[in-house]
Symmetry: C2
């Protein structure tokens, strides 16, 4: 294969659309809504966050996060702690039980993806392995636009109250 093969954005977009829709349905356990699981994932991965931060990254209203965190707290999956640096704010921490849910779903995905990877050829597995660092970097560039030079600073604004 040519080393500087042009990357077709159209093809990338299509493949990722399909892959995303498959990936998101992989775990069987679905007692929690998509947004709720995403919050747990964020907290487990990035550590404690304020409600406003969560509202921004999940693209729902602050009110929705408050209600969700209240529910998660009742279920013992997160805890509210005061923010020592700001008396108005609250820091949401994931509990061990909450982290266990994230890990459990990850294990399910790993099991299914492992089955699928077994069906690929060795060359295909190698190609995916070689692409992972670049895919991870795209995620980084998206979430921290200031890191890279020449990035559009306005593209990431947590947008105004999406109604659905």
């Amino acid at each position: 294969m040519p080393e500087n093969a042009a990357l077709s954005i159209a093809r990338l977009t299509r493949v990722l659309e399909d892959f995303t829709r498959m990936h998101i349905r992989l775990p069987a356990e679905r007692r929690l809504s998509f947004t709720t699981l995403s919050v747990l994932h964020t907290l487990a991965g990035d550590g404690p966050k304020r409600l406003t931060e969560l509202a921004g990254s999940e693209q729902v209203t602050q009110s929705a996060i408050t209600q969700m965190v209240t529910k998660l707290e009742r279920e013992g999956l997160v805890e509210r702690h005061p923010d020592p640096s700001d008396g108005r704010a609250v820091l949401v921490h994931v509990t061990a039980a909450g982290a266990a849910i994230v890990d459990g779903r990850r294990a399910e995905r790993m099991a299914r993806l492992s089955e699928l990877a077994d069906l690929l050829t060795e060359a295909e597995r190698a190609a995916i392995a070689a692409a992972l660092p670049a895919l991870a970097r795209m995620v980084d560039l998206h979430s921290v636009p200031g890191t890279a030079p020449g990035t559009d600073p306005g593209a990431d604004t947590p947008r105004d109250s999406a109604r659905r």
Copy 2:
């Protein structure tokens, strides 16, 4: 890089988790729910489908699909046509307006992914390009498990009434 590098499933899973959560929030237009958009995407990509087929692939109840299709029909995004081969069934077709929504969101994703891809090195873009066929094949293997030999036949059952 070694041509037969082992593919780390753990790393693949992590990268895809992060990528999925980024990708799903890319388009700005969010007048429609996630499930609704997924249905439009399926219809635009695979052609007309029965309500039960949609319920299976989207992992919501048939009741939810009926209500969603009724709403989409009122908005002119899909149409119901009788299934000539079965008097009980209904075939849901996407309209031009519905397809335009799918295309519009795809265009948004392409624009943003294109920006991100521009920030990568040529080698990174080449690595992603080289992995796309393999990623697409994983999606195929997932949705049509009978195609490949040795696949667990029970793994894909549209599961029992996911409650959230």
